[in-house]
């Protein structure tokens, strides 16, 4: 168990323990200042941050190691698809990370968003609603479904909630698969229209309009979610995550809070769904199976539950691993000769490597890449001194 050590005097920013200034403490000071700035000017910092990311990513892939794998348009296209998962992770983060509601069937909302655009803008129905209003409509529709699917779960606790959401996550694609007359079943609905802007063409050859659109969508979502997080609703979510009974006793309406968590969490999936349907020009039940729900959950956990930038990074990292790195290993080892590795067909080992990566990541860093500070303190309590939020019995079992 942890020993009670002497409580240290707080160290002023910009100085190290001995009172002097060195590189480390200076960096620490800059970090503190940046952090303070961003918490007071959320929207601006999101826009700045994303613009930087959006500008740097396409430039990095022009550099030698990465340019050897694929050309820039292919990379940028990959980033755009990663962006879809970032949107999904942001939404699931509201449900799982902020509100503590274990949702194992998130792909259902993604499906709703996608199919809604398919019904609205394909030769199958003959209708052609433009993309931009459909984004909003898709998000709203997904939110409505969030409420519908969340309602039966209100009385359920913990893992019962998980299995019910898992059930919905299974039922929705099954319905789409078997209702061939209405949904084209296994064939999927194809020929979905791309977005249209006065002077910009959205084609498969040119990745840039899609990329910029995705960055804008992510920025809007992040700003929106930050606003929510900092609002009363956000605090209510965190309250029911930590202790539902105490929250209820303090006047938090758990019913509306939970329903709003589901609804708003689902709305980004609706956005992602509309975008995905348009980019891929196809929707099919095959795209919304349990492994999508699980992948997004892994992204949220890896990123650090509750941390918005964290889950975005987590989404990006996992997408890159699963869809880019693991697929390219064969090509990598065909080009450079390594004695044993070049003879292995890595395609057959994808699952194995991915599974090992997941296990390793969880064992090494169970709190995720960017956990919120409380969690980290809880998990590594015996390694640190007794902070002001310390707990006499050591790490509280989570």
């Amino acid at each position: 168990m942890s020993e009670i050590r002497e409580i240290e005097r707080p160290v002023p920013a910009g100085r190290n323990a001995a009172g002097g200034r060195d590189l480390r403490s200076r960096i620490g000071e800059i970090r503190e200042r940046a952090h303070a700035f961003s918490s007071r000017h959320r929207s601006t910092s999101v826009v700045i941050g994303l613009s930087l990311v959006a500008a740097i990513l396409p430039l990095i892939v022009l550099l030698p190691p990465l340019s050897g794998f694929s050309s820039q348009p292919v990379w940028v296209n990959g980033f755009t698809i990663a962006g879809i998962y970032v949107l999904l992770a942001l939404g699931l983060n509201i449900v799982v990370g902020l509100s503590g509601l274990l949702d194992l069937g998130y792909a259902a909302f993604f499906a709703i968003g996608s199919y809604s655009f398919a019904f609205a803008a394909s030769p199958f129905t003959g209708v052609d609603v433009p993309f931009w209003p459909m984004l909003l409509i898709g998000a709203v529709l997904a939110a409505v479904f969030g409420i519908l699917l969340g309602a039966p779960t209100l009385r359920l606790r913990g893992d019962y909630l998980a299995i019910v959401t898992l059930g919905f996550g299974e039922i929705v694609p099954i319905v789409f698969l078997n209702s061939s007359t209405y949904t084209e079943g296994p064939n999927g609905i194809g020929g979905i229209s791309p977005p249209s802007l006065p002077s910009i063409a959205f084609t498969s050859a040119d990745p840039w309009p899609w990329y910029i659109t995705m960055i804008v969508l992510i920025a809007v979502s992040m700003i929106f979610i930050y606003r929510l997080q900092d609002s009363r609703l956000g605090r209510a979510w965190m309250a029911i995550r930590e202790d539902e009974l105490a929250a209820a006793s303090n006047g938090v309406n758990t019913v509306t809070t939970k329903l709003l968590a589901f609804a708003l969490g689902a709305s980004t999936a609706g956005l992602a769904g509309v975008f995905s349907a348009s980019k891929l020009t196809l929707v099919s039940p095959n795209l919304f199976r349990f492994d999508v729900s699980f992948t997004v959950l892994a992204m949220v956990v890896l990123g650090g539950m509750g941390n918005i930038w964290g889950v975005a990074v987590g989404a990006f990292v996992i997408f890159m691993i699963q869809n880019v790195v693991l697929k390219q290993l064969n090509i990598l080892f065909d080009n450079i000769y390594v004695p044993i590795l070049s003879d292995i067909d890595f395609l057959q080992y994808q699952f194995l490597l991915y599974g090992i990566a997941l296990v390793a990541m969880m064992l090494l860093r169970p709190e995720g890449l960017f956990p919120n500070r409380r969690r980290r303190r809880e998990l590594h309590a015996d390694e640190s001194t007794l902070g002001e939020l310390g707990d006499p019995m050591g790490a509280t079992p989570q």
Binding site: N187, G191, S204, N286, L364
Partner: protein, 429 residues
Amino acid sequence: MRLSRLGAAVVVATMVAAACSSTPGGSGGAGQKGTLKLGVTLPLSGGAAADGQPTLKGAKLAVDEANAKGGIGGYKLELMPLDHAVNGKYNEQQAAQDMQTFVADAAVIGVVGPYNSAVGKVQIPISNDAGLVQCSPANTNEGLTKPEFGALNLRKNHPDRINYIRVATTDDIQGPAMAVYGFNTLKLKNVLIIDDVTTFGKGVADNFEKKWKELGGTVVDRVGAGADTTDFNGIITAAKPKNPDGVYYGGVVTSGAGLLLKQLRQQGLTIPFMGPDGIVNGNGDAEGSLIKVAGAQNAANSYGTIAAIGDFPAKKDFDAAFSEHFKGDSDFKTPGAYSGPAYACATVVLKSLEEFLKTNASADQKAIREGVRAYASDPSHSFDTVLGKTSFDKNGDNTQKFISFYVTDPAAPNNGDWVFKEQQDFGGS
């Protein structure tokens, strides 16, 4: 912060490794003129590997043979397979990305694949925009080629440019063919129809059912059993009291055809078992074949169709060449159901390349790509392949409408095998 150090080490290693790798687009390798690539887009990992890997090897055989003869027109050929299976099942999103990769790589002059029709719907718009020829060994959905079924939506920007061709016949040929055979030759009257709820399986079963009813037969039950199904006992028990005298399964062996057959026999139903080319996938020793999964005795009295000329010397030669070429592999050493068609697709693309280079020896990669496409999709050209004489109509469909019928023979060598019975020409029907 062990994690960050480990991460940094990995990044550095990757950078070093990749810096040593060659850039795509012609490495100036063995051929005097460089390398051209044949792309392959298939689901190659997880459960889908049993479908994709044998198919890939068909294309690989063609490329290896071409290289053994010194390449084509001075160019060396390189196979570039990309796996669009995610978590063991084909994924349309990954397939779109893969097609983008092919399109962006100027050395790619043609693509073989895909296997699933839904993937075709996603890839055709991309490859059509780029004018890259794409030949599918297995897609059967009519909507991919025929304007009356919506194919023009897939090539909105260049409706007159045909880049997608396929050697598999559409659903409306195989299904009715077996219906006619079952009704007229096998003299069956009441049939149980099961499909695996995929584009191919449902399509071929729908067409079988339509023809069956036209001929006057009755359908005891029409059941959809998703591709993950392993337990068909409930369906069989429900159908038994209705006395079916035959079963038609629309689907492939990875969707459960072998399991269904085995469970039928275990429940005492020895009635004829019929299916499309997805079930004619090798002898009793071949990994993942219907005969192996069900067991040679259980597989007796099974009938399958193949969309090709049967009993044809080139087919036997192909089977032998395939088994010889891949005998050192750890799995999938014998041809699967779509290895032959994939080989045929690759033959078509390579032959188009050869013919084009004869008259345009010094063309650049961009011109080669367009030339190959134009040559392959030209309805006046025909190719000698393991499926017979192959040519493509103005929509990209195979004009060859021969269907061959095969029956299982448990006493054949290798623990039972499929044996050719007869063939019929459905051209014009």
